[in-house]
Symmetry: C2
């Protein structure tokens, strides 16, 4: 793969090469400046894909031919020869494990290597980590709102930035806590469980019961095939009577679609209820077909509502399913899962909970994959050291100041086992000791000093790549997903809450604080 780069990385690469600085040892960090969506946390993701992309870093002959055509004509030939030898074989990467809860200004990734390569990786790493972390965080928020029981399904392919945007959305939503995707390719490539249901267009393509073909279905236990349309019609009479609906009211095209679907998928029958009227057509038709199937030994697996007041309809639907359950003495009928979709947002989930809806599964598309509350995480990638000297980009805005130098990063835990602070130290400082008090300086508070005494100390980064060699096997998608949930569960409720959370503290050691002050002074 050609590097994902902005042109200036190539012009800079040439300038570095031309001035003989291209092999200077350098270090850079990738981080974000503010937690997204007004929360106190984010979920770090995309790290596995970023690491894999490093292994593929190489300029092909075609890449180089193209670069020759766009770099200034004064660019020397020998540079292109050099470029054809560039790869990640001298790159060392440490990172938080993918799926970890992460905080602003704390590096997700640290990259060391020759200056030319380190700066060349900027866009690749930002492109692969930034959206991945944003959508994983967004998915985690939906999961936190939904609670552990409600099933969450990602439906965003059609709203993503093209096919691969859709794949990223499926993958990182799953990491953030979704259960399923509708995206077949994501299922095939990543093994994410896929789910699907019936669509309005299928239902609309039927007009009458005459169109049902084939018409017969054998009972599950074997035996004489039955005419399912007739059976469904007769159940529809009984259902309509129970519900007090004129039996000519339910749309017969819809009934024909349900019956046809049931014949195709007798063990997986589900109904989409709102093509016409839910209460006077979709629901009675569904009940009729599901009861006919029941008579043959099959169980329907669910219904879906896709418009209108979903909470309210879920309650009405549950009431009808329970009424059928009681009246026709079909015990499982009352607990048929109810799924909903249609522009579901965090607000919708909050409403569902507050209104005590009967919803068991939620499909989320647009508001998951496009992250409309904040469509970019705004990760940055900053050089922190060159030739052993720490770098600082001076700025008036404290928030935008980089923390210079290569670092060790620790997560400090309190007595209850919750993390309460991420601490950046100089790489050569001794690790903070458990149970010992020491001074730190909190970021974002003009360097305010405070004392901490952690009950546990966790080195946050692991070494994944040392001089281009993989040091640790990358976890599976399923493992990353579990790690994300575990990491979220460790968070204190005051940091985990989605609205007005208590900010999580990020601090630097006394020594790093002094270095920062010194460099700030020097650059003013």
């Amino acid at each position: 793969m050609a590097p994902l780069a902005d042109l200036y990385h190539l012009t800079m690469a040439y300038a570095l090469w031309r001035t003989g600085r291209h092999r200077d040892p350098a270090a850079a960090e990738l981080f974000f400046r503010r937690e997204p969506f007004g929360a106190a946390f984010a979920v770090g993701a995309g790290l596995g894909q970023a690491l894999r992309s490093l292994g593929a870093l190489r300029f092909s002959a075609a890449d180089i031919a193209y670069l020759r055509s766009v770099l200034p004509s004064t660019t020397e030939d020998a540079f292109f020869d050099y470029l054809s030898t560039v790869d990640a074989s001298e790159v060392t990467v440490t990172s938080v494990p993918e799926g970890s809860v992460v905080f602003s200004r704390v590096p997700l990734l640290q990259v060391k290597g020759p200056l030319l390569v380190v700066q060349l990786l900027e866009t690749t790493l930002l492109c692969l980590v930034s959206y991945a972390s944003l959508v994983a965080t967004n998915a985690a928020r939906f999961r936190l709102l939904a609670g552990p029981e409600m099933k969450l399904m990602e439906l965003g392919l059609r709203r993503a930035q093209g096919p691969d945007g859709g794949l990223s959305a499926s993958k990182y939503s799953y990491i953030g806590g979704f259960d399923y995707t509708s995206n077949v390719l994501a299922g095939k490539l990543y093994g994410i469980p896929v789910r699907g249901t019936v669509a309005h267009s299928f239902i609309m393509s039927f007009r009458s019961m005459e169109e049902v073909q084939p018409r017969v279905l054998s009972p599950l236990a074997g035996g004489e095939p039955m005419d399912l349309p007739s059976l469904a019609e007769s159940w529809l009479q009984r259902v309509c009577e129970l519900l007090g609906i004129p039996s000519d009211k339910p749309n017969r095209g819809e009934l024909a679609a349900f019956v046809s679907y049931a014949i195709a998928f007798p063990q997986d029958f589900q109904g989409l209820l709102d093509t016409y009227c839910v209460m006077r057509s979709g629901l009675p038709n569904f009940c009729a077909v599901a009861l006919a199937l029941h008579q043959l030994g099959y169980r329907a697996i669910g219904v879906r509502l896709d418009s209108g007041d979903l909470s309210q309809q879920s309650k009405e639907t549950r009431r009808v399913l329970r009424a059928c359950s009681a009246h026709f003495q079909v015990p499982w009928f009352g607990s048929i899962p109810i799924a909903v979709s249609n522009d579901i947002s965090e607000r919708s989930l909050e409403d569902f909970i507050r209104e005590e809806s009967e919803i068991d599964m939620v499909g989320v598309g647009t508001n998951l994959v496009t992250c409309p509350l904040q469509p970019s995480l705004g990760c940055v990638y900053k050089l922190v050291e060159v030739n052993g000297s720490p770098c600082l980009k001076f700025t008036e805005e404290e928030e935008k100041m980089t923390i210079p130098g290569t670092k060790a990063i620790y997560r400090l835990y309190d007595d209850s086992g919750h993390p309460f602070m991420d601490l950046m130290a100089l790489e050569n400082e001794p690790s903070p000791s458990v149970g010992q008090e020491f001074v730190v300086h909190i970021l974002g508070r003009r360097g305010e000093a405070t004392k901490v005494r952690p009950s546990a100390v966790e080195p946050l980064h692991r070494m994944y790549l040392r001089d281009g060699q993989a040091c640790e096997e990358l976890p599976s998608l399923q493992e990353v997903r579990s790690h994300a949930q575990a990491s979220l569960n460790l968070l204190s409720p005051v940091h985990r809450q989605l609205h007005d959370p208590e900010p999580y503290l990020v601090a630097v050691t006394e020594k790093l604080h002094l270095l920062l002050a010194e460099l700030q002074h020097a650059s003013q």
Copy 2:
């Protein structure tokens, strides 16, 4: 390529096949329900890519093996055999030409073919058209605000939904009216002009003038190489004197970086001015190096500002460039292009214009590619006809009602040459005649009837694919970009304005109106 599909398209495909309806002739339309960003128009894009994807529609053996593993175990083997024969060889597509100005509820694409295939294409087409049209529209808005002269550069790769999201953003921003991209891969793949500049990290990697290596540069016209660091230092004295700045104030690491960059790119020297202080470091350092280059016969090509009050700084920068121009008698110096970046939005562009900034080029990233004002266009794809019968999805919301049946679509023009209405007619109706008055019913106004007399009538759709065969060569990216600008230019100013525009009228013919009323009545 395996089809980009949601699982329900495959379950439906099976249900259709099982009921013998999979080859029923069907038609579907792709449209959006409301113009994005509060405007009265959108730019239709992604159509070329969508058409190309149809040519590649095929299920590989691996796709089929995967589908077997996820479809219910009752799915018959013969279905998978059938699926392996499915392609777009019986599909017919008409579409607006890519880059056209388009309006809500008017189909961008119409697809005809066997029902199974037509419904299978839903997600592929939505995925390829929806974001493409959204970002092209967003880019067109930036272009309208910037006016024809200002250069616009897309910088969004790091903020996109992964690598291909970034490529889509580059491509469709270019169609919408951007001039350049920073994305090297987009340049290589699509031939979009790429531009780059120097970065903060390059500047920060220098500490002192001793680090400049090599130090000499030959004059453009040939002759004795000169020591550029010394030359720049001596120009810096003169510039500081002119500007009244102590000559030890400008950062020497920054100066070293500029000199190094100038030696690498003597004919393409540009300065990024805000790594330290623009007025007391970046700008004097830039002027010094640019004047030193000028002495050797080279012209600097630009400066960039990336933080702070960009309008204000552009004016101060222009004043200094002009002062140097006058004082050192270098005529071209006063008009060195000034580029800006840093979270540029529509609002920023409006401010630049209002404040009469001196900005010549704008780089836009996040606010272009993520479309934060509305991150999804919300395109839909609806079945409009099956077996020759028009379909209607009934709904209480008039806006969500589909317009049934296969249609011809016309754009009607007024005396001034502006389009004033898009008109949908039944496919077999005669085309509206120029200069003749006839009755139409306006959508969104409860079918209000009105009379129109167009001065010109344009059939809006072209046939691109007939029974799987390409009918028309797809235009180049450059041609699509030109068509988009031409299409935008034709719009009346009242529809083109970005805030509070007059809504553009979309109407149906008398006959289509009657059909709609009839189907509505029947489904109630």
